[in-house]
């Protein structure tokens, strides 16, 4: 198994990591970063780009020299040269669509398998701008547990909201409704779904490739304070996963007070569930649009600390997803 994994790696690529609404870094925020970097580099000299990059990589914390980005939920599971697999169609889908189009020009099959967590706007808003949908050679298969997925996608392209109608797309588009808990095989990828607590419901996905690597996509999932017994099912769903992508939009205090019943979770609960499930890596995901890079960085640092304080077994690596992050399994 180890050889197969090394020879045929799976890359999980984050095209959009924000929740609720896309955000963009403002001119003032960029300027503030530049000023801080210049101050950090005061007295140093760089004779070439490599030295400058080394300074960024080794002497600056992430938020000082980069940004978590602001596109909404879209995650690609890249299993190689065949069909594409994409979780959700947030505004990050636009970047994925451009990248995929380039790959297809080089010969990759134009087959796109989507898996939708739910129909809220931040998870489907990228589809009207999905470049491969204009291509008559594209085959798009949209998997969802919601029976009203097609209705939602058609509605957002009503001319009241968007100039191009859903039926004007040149691509072949079909919908597949999955039953919660049902196991399916999609172009070589094993998929099982799980019902989650969220307004209008959401569904988590557990994927397993032929080499046995597992990745869980569990976004927009509230773990209710008055129903903690249900968490055992999530521990089972996350069990031994190589990577768990979790909605960690709020602090636990917010999730259990002012933001209760909004359908989101916290870094602290995600870490506890992953610890119990013996997952190997956790990616913090679905960042609050009100949080700037410094706040998200602090949340990541706090999460790493909480993991070490509460660990009672093998370490859990806590990543903080950002637009452009690629995790190789």
């Amino acid at each position: 198994m180890t050889d197969q994994r090394a020879a045929d790696p799976v890359a999980v690529r984050f095209w959009g990591t924000r929740g609720t609404l896309p955000v963009a870094t403002t001119a003032g925020q960029v300027r503030s970063k530049i000023v801080n970097v210049l101050m950090s580099a005061s007295g140093k000299s760089f004779s070439n780009l490599e030295e400058a990059n080394r300074f960024i990589d080794h002497e600056l914390y992430f938020a000082a020299g980069a940004s978590y980005g602001g596109a909404t939920s879209c995650v690609e599971i890249d299993c190689g040269q065949d069909a594409f697999f994409i979780c959700d169609m947030g505004s990050g889908l636009q970047g994925f669509g451009r990248d995929a189009t380039l790959q297809c020009r080089l010969g990759r099959p134009k087959k796109y398998n989507f898996f939708l967590s739910h129909m809220h706007w931040d998870h489907i808003m990228g589809f009207p701008s999905f470049l491969p949908a204009f291509d008559p050679g594209s085959e798009i298969v949209i998997h969802a547990c919601h029976g009203d997925a097609e209705q939602a996608l058609r509605r957002q392209q009503d001319e009241m909201f968007f100039p191009d109608a859903f039926d004007s797309w040149a691509a072949s588009i079909r919908f597949v409704t999955l039953e919660p808990g049902e196991e399916a095989e999609v172009d070589g990828l094993h998929v099982v779904t799980m019902r989650q607590h969220h307004p209008h419901e959401s569904f988590g996905y557990r994927f397993r490739d032929r080499a046995g690597r597992t990745m869980v996509y569990s976004t927009d999932s509230e773990h209710n304070i008055d129903d903690m017994d249900k968490e055992a099912a999530f521990v089972g769903f996350f069990e031994d996963a190589d990577l768990v992508i979790c909605d960690t939009m709020y602090s636990l205090a917010e999730a259990s007070s002012t933001k209760e019943h909004r359908g989101h979770s916290s870094n602290v609960v995600a870490i506890d569930l992953c610890h119990q499930a013996r997952a190997k890596r956790l990616a913090l995901f679905h960042h609050d649009p009100f949080h700037d890079d410094e706040v998200i960085q602090r949340l990541h640092d706090d999460s790493i600390r909480y993991e070490s304080l509460t660990r009672d077994g093998a370490p859990l690596e806590v990543l903080c997803a950002y637009d452009g992050l690629e995790v190789v399994l």
């Binding site: 304070i225 008055d226 903690m228 602090s251 636990l252 205090a253 917010e254 259990s256 007070s257 916290s266 602290v268 609960v269 870490i271 506890d272 119990q276 706090d302 999460s303 600390r305 909480y306 304080l309 509460t310 009672d312």
Partner: protein, 115 residues
């Protein structure tokens, strides 16, 4: 998980002992609910949760604190946390629970209980 419930003047102090995790949170929750009920029955305005003998608390324990707070608010009892160790203080800060609850460095004079 054991806990002591000790009345000191017009305050009830609940002192749970040990770790609050997936296996103990329900007992912890029961101890807090018992404390809220006792404080209400004895017309006490304040319940202090003495954290000095809690080694560590997972998210389930923290959420049990929230449930106790809801129960206490319904009967006009104020909940305060007191005497967390360094680990607990960090966990309260990371979870931002230090914004939900007033936290005192020490118990009131004469307070504190064994089990």
């Amino acid at each position: 998980m054991e806990a002591a419930h000790v009345r000191t003047g017009d305050v009830l102090i609940v002192t749970p002992i040990g770790r609050v995790d997936e296996s103990t949170w329900k007992e912890f929750d029961d101890h807090l609910a018992t404390g809220v009920l006792q404080a209400s029955r004895e017309s006490l305005a304040k319940l202090i949760i003495d954290l000095s003998r809690i080694d560590y608390m997972s998210s389930r324990g923290l959420r049990a604190l929230t449930m106790a707070k809801h129960q206490a608010q319904a009967v006009d009892v104020e909940i305060r946390l007191a005497a967390p160790n360094d680990v607990m203080r960090e966990i309260l800060a990371i979870s931002r629970y230090d914004r939900l609850f007033p936290i005192d460095d020490a118990l009131p004079v004469g307070g504190g209980g064994g089990a």
